[in-house]
Symmetry: C2
Subunit: 195 residues, 2 copies
Amino acid sequence: VSPYHHGDLRRALIDAALDLVAENGPKGFSLTEAARRAGVSAAAPYRHFASKDDLLAAVAEQGFDQLHASLSEVEEADPATRLVALGVAYVRWAVAHGAQYQVMFGTGSKRPEDVGWMRAGERAFAVLTGAIADAQAAGVIRAGGVLEFATPIWALLHGLASLRVGGDLGHVGITEPVDAVAARAVAALLASFAC
Amino acid sequence: VSPYHHGDLRRALIDAALDLVAENGPKGFSLTEAARRAGVSAAAPYRHFASKDDLLAAVAEQGFDQLHASLSEVEEADPATRLVALGVAYVRWAVAHGAQYQVMFGTGSKRPEDVGWMRAGERAFAVLTGAIADAQAAGVIRAGGVLEFATPIWALLHGLASLRVGGDLGHVGITEPVDAVAARAVAALLASFAC
DNA sequence: ACCTGAACACCGTTCAAGT
DNA sequence: ACCTGAACACCGTTCAAGT
């Protein structure tokens, strides 16, 4: 191919960013290096992304899409079992894509304007709230606002995932797999959500 | 004072770093700017810190010390009430020191060698495990490994705190104060930890 | 429309030299 | 022992110029 018209430079840059983040962590990522890996000049990315943070936002959005897909694959029919399975799927995806998960929830440019990533993130969150509504309809969870039950579950899953990905669980001697912890803890919360 | 022998440049740099992190976020912090605020050259910090990340590690350590102090101030005697109060104190400290909390658990240089911050972090964690052991002695929590009960509680508190500090709770319409959520959720987990 | 090349400001880090 | 000044490599971003 000619040096011009890369074809899909946007996608190539996102892929390079993903590799770099996985190799060096979210902090060790540089736009220049991503451009180098894509075989273009350091200025080329600015035809596709407004800034370095804008590229990272694209990486995050793709992550939320994949997380949403993983949650959507959970097929449990029983409402309580389904919520436990969603929790396990959540932490498993996060641990399997640790660096990307850190970009998704890291100290990025989540300004009110850059809410592009929210669409994907909201869809993922909606899988959880939907499962809670189903559990309420089935009588497994008492009546009330869906967020009242979704908040502690999400917080627990996110906390487990970030602490594991950041290595903090190991620092205090916690070695149990996070999916097992997630399963037990979600079940415990569900029990308290019953009538 | 003369331009030499700053007196306590190490402390001045940590203070400047704290201000900068609070103003611009952990990402917007630069060692050069911290040196400028402390009134010294860009090279001066290297007499006190091995690197930029080493200064951030000192900021994190000071944060763990303060968090430990806040948890230590909880004086509830009843084991169950005490654990709920510890949870509330934890998320309140994190929300009140959001930027510093992000440095403490952010994507920093937590290599096995740089475990200096761990002392303070471990002391804070020990307050939680100690309260759990007391609750077991009082018969409020069933027998078993302390970590089995500490892990979900810590994960829940850390998840709540980070999601709030990162602004993610607001993105999905969760507006309830995190200390209220923490109180309810810790109580719920405690109930499931009973015999 | 998409990319290059050069440029600018800024940063992390090193090191010889100053007090 | 503690700090400066200059230097180096690197990065984010801009912009005129090339195809």
